[in-house]
């Protein structure tokens, strides 16, 4: 558990960072980038793992199992799709 204001700071700074990092992106990258950030929030997997890891009742276990399953799907699917989309930028010749 985290002290309120520090959380706020982290939230603010992370938001800033996210914003700045994206701010100059060409349209062609909109979809890959959406997909890439979709992959990044696949980090929910670690949360799901913790939830399942600490689940006690069967209900908790079932929900936890589902959470991990979902999260893994998000992460792996997000990665593969993004990679496939970014393949066209392979030969960055001329640079």
């Amino acid at each position: 558990m985290i002290e309120g204001f520090l959380a706020l700071y982290i939230f603010m700074l992370a938001a800033f960072t996210g914003y700045e990092v994206i701010s100059k992106v060409p349209v062609i990258l909109h979809t890959p980038l959406m997909s890439g950030s979709n992959f990044v929030h696949g980090i929910v997997l670690v949360g799901a793992m913790v939830a399942l890891g600490h689940a006690q009742t069967t209900l908790e276990q079932a929900i936890g199992f589902l959470a991990v399953l979902f999260a893994a799907g998000n992460a792996v699917g997000g990665y593969v799709v993004t990679e496939r989309m970014l393949e066209m930028f392979k030969s960055s010749k001329g640079q």
Binding site: P26, H30, P32, S37, V44, A55, A67, V80, R84
Partner: protein, 463 residues
């Protein structure tokens, strides 16, 4: 080494890798390495999470991960390039669902075991649960629509009012749960989730296929937020950072995408729920003109091998000849082979294009006439038509009733991709509709010739 410390350091590194990965993904030059960086962050974070103290159900966990991964991997590999958007929607929905489920576990534990959560955390858990659930059901609808499983858009009167009502109800339920804390009834929690699911479905159903990408991006940002909130609940910094970064980047991205479609976000979401512009599939209907952005054309051209430029009367009107030559030089510097194709009657006098290209300094050996170049179009990765119309109109080959029937044309329609720069719906000299503009591999870059080529130049420089 202290396990706890190891986990923290790993999470920290993962967060850094995520940020750097996203940063790299926002430039075409580094985009590919970006996803790899982020991928390593994910692997690291996942692996160390097994080391969490007092982890149980590890077998189950591995099973879930394996199962989820394999299904996702296979489906992601198999899906056609054109179906990507709906897959992103699906994976995103899964993420939102996971976040919601984590919240569910926490809430159930609170209700069931009297495991107390402090107020703010409970609040965050509930809000995260709501957002995650909406992202889940909404994304599934988005998937179904794009996949063609749901074909029509659902519009009825009072839609907005009903949604508002539902939202108020959910708000109320949430407030009750937060207020009652440990004393909340389990059915209340269950009801909360169900209503949220329904809400996600209802707000997504009316939105038309063409607007879906924007909506998916929005759900993506929301999932990020949900993940961040659950991160707070779990005290998991990696989730907080990654979630927040995605939430903020995703919001910006959503706005940019809406802007690229010349719509405001509110317009996409509420005003008529997007059904006006297009309904049904995300793929544009065959027979529609498909607009494109300068930045995309720049990437297409910048990474092409062969480019053919076809100038027409519009280039003369826009006086874009100097810009076109500058663009050509830029492309040549990137080892793109550029040729100019001049139609015998392009412009309004014999040699009109020659005068202009000579003025701009285009060397004669880049300039080819119809007979010399027509065989090259199938090898052209991108054909850029600037202000030409009649001289690239395939109708001249196909429609004996057309006034231009029988006129030889430049076979721009045979090239792999064609981009047409023109200001709007203006017809050519002959006033005939142009079949090329509606072709599958043709994209329209609307705007004044000089202005658009300037933009292309700026964008190619960025590559």
């Amino acid at each position: 080494m202290d396990i706890k410390l190891l986990i923290e350091i790993s999470y920290f590194l993962a967060a850094v890798l995520f940020i750097l990965g996203l940063k790299r993904m926002s430039s075409p030059v580094t985009a590919r390495s970006g996803i790899v960086w982020a991928g390593w962050g994910m692997v690291l974070a996942t692996l160390v999470s097994f080391l969490y103290p007092q982890m149980q159900n590890v077998g189950l966990m591995i099973l879930a991960i394996g199962l989820g991964s394999v299904i996702a991997y296979v489906s992601a590999k198999k899906v056609a390039m054109t179906d990507m958007p709906q897959m992103i929607a699906l994976y995103n929905g899964l993420g939102g669902g996971a976040a919601a489920l984590i919240a569910a576990v926490e809430l159930i534990r609170m209700v069931g075991h009297g495991h107390a959560l402090i107020n703010t955390v409970l609040l965050l858990a509930v809000v995260g649960a709501f957002i995650g659930t909406v992202a889940l059901s909404g994304s599934i609808i988005a998937f179904a629509k794009l996949q063609g499983l749901i074909r029509r858009s659902w519009n009825f009167n009072g839609q907005n009012q009903i949604n508002l009502l539902l939202f108020a109800l959910i708000l109320l339920l949430g407030a009750v749960i937060v207020a009652q804390g440990t004393h909340s009834a389990l059915w209340l929690v269950a009801g909360f989730f169900v209503l949220a699911l329904v809400f996600g479905v209802l707000i997504t159903l009316p939105i038309g296929g063409a607007d879906m990408p924007v909506v998916i991006s929005l759900f993506n940002a929301l999932t990020g937020l949900a993940v961040a909130f659950e991160g707070f609940v779990l005290g998991n910094a990696a989730m907080i950072i990654a979630g927040t970064v995605v939430g903020s980047a995703g919001t910006l991205l959503t706005q940019l995408m809406a802007k690229a479609m010349n719509r405001s976000l509110a317009n996409v979401l509420f005003s008529g729920f997007g059904s006006k512009t297009s309904a049904g599939s995300g793929e544009a209907v065959t027979g529609a003109m498909k607009p494109i952005e300068a930045s995309d054309v720049a990437v297409m051209m910048g990474y092409a091998e062969n480019v053919i430029i076809i100038p027409g009367y519009g280039m003369a009107v826009a006086q874009a000849q100097h810009k076109i030559w500058e663009l050509t030089k830029l492309l040549q510097a990137r080892n793109v082979k550029v040729k100019f194709a001049i139609h015998p009657v392009a412009g309004r006098m014999p040699g009109h294009m020659n005068v202009l290209l000579a003025e701009a300094g285009v060397p004669y050996d880049l300039i080819f006439d119809l007979e010399e170049i027509n065989a090259d179009f199938p090898q052209s990765d991108v054909t850029l038509v600037i202000g030409a119309n009649d001289v690239v109109n395939p109708v001249a080959r196909t429609d004996p009733n057309s006034p231009i029937y029988g006129m030889p044309i430049l076979n721009a329609d045979k090239s792999k991709n064609t981009v047409v720069i023109k200001r709007g719906q203006g017809a050519g000299f002959s006033g005939v509709e142009n079949g090329l503009f509606f072709a599958d591999n043709t994209r329209m870059l609307y705007g004044d010739g000089q202005k658009m080529v300037s933009e292309l130049i700026a964008q190619v420089k960025e590559l």
